[in-house]
Structure formats: C-alpha cells, structure tokens
Amino acid sequence: MYPVTELIKNLADQHGRERRNLLPILQGVVEQEKYLSEYSMIEIARELDLPASEVYGTATFYSFLEYKKMGKYIIRICKTITCSMKGKNQIIKTIEDMLKINVGETTPDGNFSLLQTNCLGFCHKAPAMLINYEVYIDLTPEKVREILTGYINKKEKEE
C-alpha cells in the first residue's frame, strides 16, 4: 500500500503520462483505494497535465470506477434479465439481511459494499455476482450465505 500521491506517480511512470494512459491509471488507483476520491482525481489531473474536469468526466462514465468511498469487498449482483428471472432478488435479500445494509450502502465497519450491476456474462449460470474481481455463479440463498461467511471469517482472521 502506497500513499495515494505516490501510487499515482508510480502508475504514471509505469503507464505513461498521455491521455490514452488515463484509464489504466484510474483503474490502478481503484484497485488499491477501491474508489477515486476528489483528491485522487485532482492529483491524476496534475500528474497528466489534464483539466480535472476531464478526469472527473472520464472516471464517472465507467461503472467500475467508483467515486464514492467503497468497502474493502464490493459485492456486485447482476440484475440483467436472466439473473433477474432466476432469483437475484432473493440473493439480494439474503445479503441485505446478513450484512444489515441495503443495495447502494456500505457496512459501518467499511468491509462490504452492496451494488447491482449490468450483465456479467454468466446468463447460463444465473444468478451471478462479483466480489471484487471474483465471480460466483449458480447462486442460491444458502450458497451466498456460505460465501459471505467465508469472507467475514477471512476478514476476522486478518484482524
């Protein structure tokens, strides 16, 4: 973990400082920080010599580049047609009950955020979800409870 200013410098050194290097840099910041703070966006703009509004405009276009503070684990439930038909609402309900948050919220301890997302491309194994970049498919309420318990235990072990 680098302080964000240093991270941005490193990313710019690694990818380059041209406009076309903007997305990889934004992605690199999100990978570590889980979101793009106003501060990060201004720093990126400074590093690449771009107007901050351009960085903001680009960052906010992409659904995986969060610009609100997110939890350590971002849960994204696919809500597109097949997952919706195959019971994604039950999955969401299960997670909401377990984590005591609603869709769009983050747990007070900052561990989990719950979001919905568009088609993940696992329609034949619906419903599907992502936790950070990990894919989980053929979900049932039982299965989802098991998966989340795994994450919660992992988190506790780390602490």
């Binding site: 076309r20 903007l22 997305l23 276009f61 597109t80 568009n118 088609c119 491309g121 329609c123 034949h124």
Partner: protein, 395 residues
C-alpha cells in the same frame, strides 16, 4: 412438435484444440497479404459480434490505406445481455485469437495489437497474459514483429461499439463517434485500425487452418459458416453451442426449449424478440435478398416460457439501456428514460393504453435519430413486446 425441415447441425471448430497454432502462424505470415484477404473473402465470413460486416473486406480496406502505423484490435467487450461465448474462447483457445490478430497484422501492416477486455472479465487476465507471453516468445523466435497487449475496460456496455471502444482506449468517455470516417481509415488514435470480435478471429484461424471452403460449406446463402450461440433463460440446457447458421427458430426451440417457450430474444436486449407464432418463419442468420425473415445475432439466444411476464422483460431491458446509454445524444438519453417511465405509467394506470402507441412512435424517432446502434435498436424489442404482448403491458 413438428417435423424438422432443417436439423440443427452441431459443429466443432472453435473449441477444437489449438496445438497447431505455431505452424498456422508461420504458414500464414509466409503467404502474401492479398492471398489471405481473398481466402477470407471467399469464405464469406461476416463479423460475429452481431453487425455482420464481411471480415475479408474489413482487412482489405485497412490494408489499402498507406500509413506506417496501424492497429489490430480484438473486441472482447462482451456486454450484450445473454452473450458469454467470447470469454469461453479466450479461456479455452486464446492462441487462436492471438494467431489471427498477428496474421491480420501481417496482412494490413500493423505491429501492435490490443485486446479490449471488459472490466467484468478482469479475472481472465493472468491466464491470458500467460498465453500472450508464450505467443510473444514464438514471434521472437521466428523474427516476426507483432506485440499484443490487454487493455482493460471498466464496466461500460457502450464500449463494445467500436468507435466508443477507441475513445475509451484513448482515455476518454466511451462515447461513439460519427461514422464515417470508419475504423479502417480512422480508428484508434486516428490510425487505420481493424477491429474484430473475439469469435470472428477464432473463425479466421479455422479458415487459415482448413481453407475457406470448409467454412463456406457450412451454413446457408448469405450466412456462411458456423457460429457460437449462448443459450440461456428458460431452457433445460443452458450453455454455449456451435451451430451452423441458417437454422430455423422452430428447430432451435425444439432442441433448446422447455416445451413451453413463449418467446425467444435473438441477439440480446438490442436484438429481436420473436413470439411463438413467429418461430416457424424465422431463421437465424444475416439478412439477404432471398432469406425471408432472417435475424442476425451476436450469439445471444434467451428463451422465455409462459411463466414470464413480458412487461418485466421489457422493463428490465429499458432499465439496462437507460443506464448504459452514453448520454451524448438526446434521442437515446431522454428516449430511454421516457420509454421506461412510460411503460411504468401505463402499468400503474396513470396513462391509458393508447399511450403505448405514442411510445412506439418515440422508438421510431430514436431509430432514425440516435447516433449509434444502442439508441437505434431499442425499437426492436420494444415494438415486438408491445405489439405481441399488449395485454401484459397494461394489466
């Protein structure tokens, strides 16, 4: 249900092993460019992302432009609801895709290739990079100068549109450009670019391996070759199937339906919804002069049975489009919002049933005035659902 006139023909080209890739690469780059282009043209391979532009012609156009810098891009921004075949190709036979990209580089005179991989498929990266490394080693060994890199997307459906994809790679919002100019003259960074779907490149490999005739002999007129279909929804056997083009929808439903299929969505949310009464007269392939009703698809085939409310289906599509519209042109940005608000208002009884006709006219306007395929194609499923399942929209 019926006596099939045309049996579904399973084909096994795409996922056939790729062990001969070195030989195919070496042989192909030793052939003159025009010969490879002619091979592709005579195979009649058309783009497998859904739009169906002839691949050989695409390569030819880019080859004819005189520019020292050109790009080859593999479009792996597979985001159409109901499509999941490209991921399977990239995880099972990545070297086929890389080989075809390099052959394309040889044909058009490009030394740089990119795979634009959707953010949702981030997890594919480590394995894919391994294959790219292996590929690079062989290119060095035979002194062939072509580099492939992955460019990650970040969750935007519209970036599957080729010019939006270029914008995204250039570090901007993924907003489609006006066409012309087309990518073959003005693509990534304003340079001549060939951009092909993952599956298209995998088919190119088949053609380089076996020759164009083996490919051409499959399928029907205007729709040659095989195609991967991503089958999902109310079906006992969801999954990925390689089938010949030109099958009739009724045979498809016989094979994949659950006996109670009410409608099939061909080509994802932006594609075409066919109600049961249309199964018999519809075939799957590209439209030609003599084909009757022939529907193209990027491979997405979603089946709905009679337990599904088509209102919910349309509501889900419209919410998808409203969120994924890039917002730069008004017909699409406002149109998608108004369509969604409109059907909700009719359902709640706040607007009368006639209002649906008004909304249909709005989709027509969008078809004519929206800047890219997203806004233009909303009309397809909207009109099919509203016309065929009107009562479900109202009650």
């Amino acid at each position: 249900m019926s006596t099939p006139i045309y049996q579904l023909k399973r084909v096994d080209f795409i996922f056939k092993d790729e062990k001969d890739w070195k030989e195919i690469l070496k042989n192909s780059i030793n052939r003159p460019a025009h010969e490879l282009i002619n091979e592709l043209i005579s195979s009649e391979l058309k783009g497998r992302g859904g739009a169906g532009f002839p691949t050989g012609l695409k390569w030819k156009l880019a080859a004819e432009v005189d520019d020292p810098i050109k790009y080859v891009i593999c479009n792996a921004d597979e985001g159409e609801p109901g499509t999941f075949k490209d991921r399977e190709i990239l995880s099972k036979v990545p070297l086929k895709v890389l080989t075809s990209m390099a052959v394309c580089g040889h044909v058009i005179g490009s030394k740089e290739g990119y795979i634009y991989l959707r953010g949702e498929y981030f997890f594919l990266q480590p394995e894919l990079n391994k294959s790219i490394g292996e590929f690079k080693d062989y290119c060095n060994e035979i002194n062939f100068d072509f580099t492939i890199k992955i460019f990650m997307g970040s969750g935007a459906y519209i970036c599957g549109e080729e010019t939006a994809l270029f914008e995204s790679m250039e570090g901007k919002r993924g907003e489609p450009r006006n066409k012309p100019p087309f990518p073959s003259t003005f693509g990534y960074l304003g340079k001549p670019t060939v951009i092909n779907n993952v599956e298209t490149l995998a088919h190119c490999y088949t053609i380089f391996e076996y020759g164009s005739k083996r490919f051409y002999d499959l399928g029907v007129q205007y729709s040659r070759g095989s195609k991967l279909f991503s089958v999902s929804g109310d079906t006992p056997k969801p999954g990925i199937y390689e089938l010949e083009l030109g099958m009739s929808l009724v045979d498809f439903v016989d094979e994949f339906g659950d006996g109670d299929t009410k409608a099939v969505q061909v080509g994802g949310a932006s594609g075409f919804l066919v109600p049961r009464k249309g199964f018999r007269e519809t075939t799957i392939g590209f439209q030609g002069k003599l084909t009757g009703i022939s529907l193209p698809t990027g491979g997405s085939m979603m089946l709905f049975n009679s337990s599904r409310s088509m209102y919910n289906v349309l509501d889900n599509y419209l919410e998808f489009f409203r969120e994924e519209s890039c917002g730069q042109c008004t017909p699409c940005r406002v149109g998608c919002q108004q369509l969604l608000n409109g059907i909700k208002a009719v359902k709640r009884g706040e607007k009368n049933a006639q209002y649906l006709n008004k909304l249909m006219r709005l989709t027509e306007t969008m078809q004519y005035t929206a800047k890219c395929g997203l806004g233009q194609s909303v009309a397809n499923s909207f009109s099919a659902i509203v016309e065929n399942f009107r009562e479900e929209m109202i009650y």
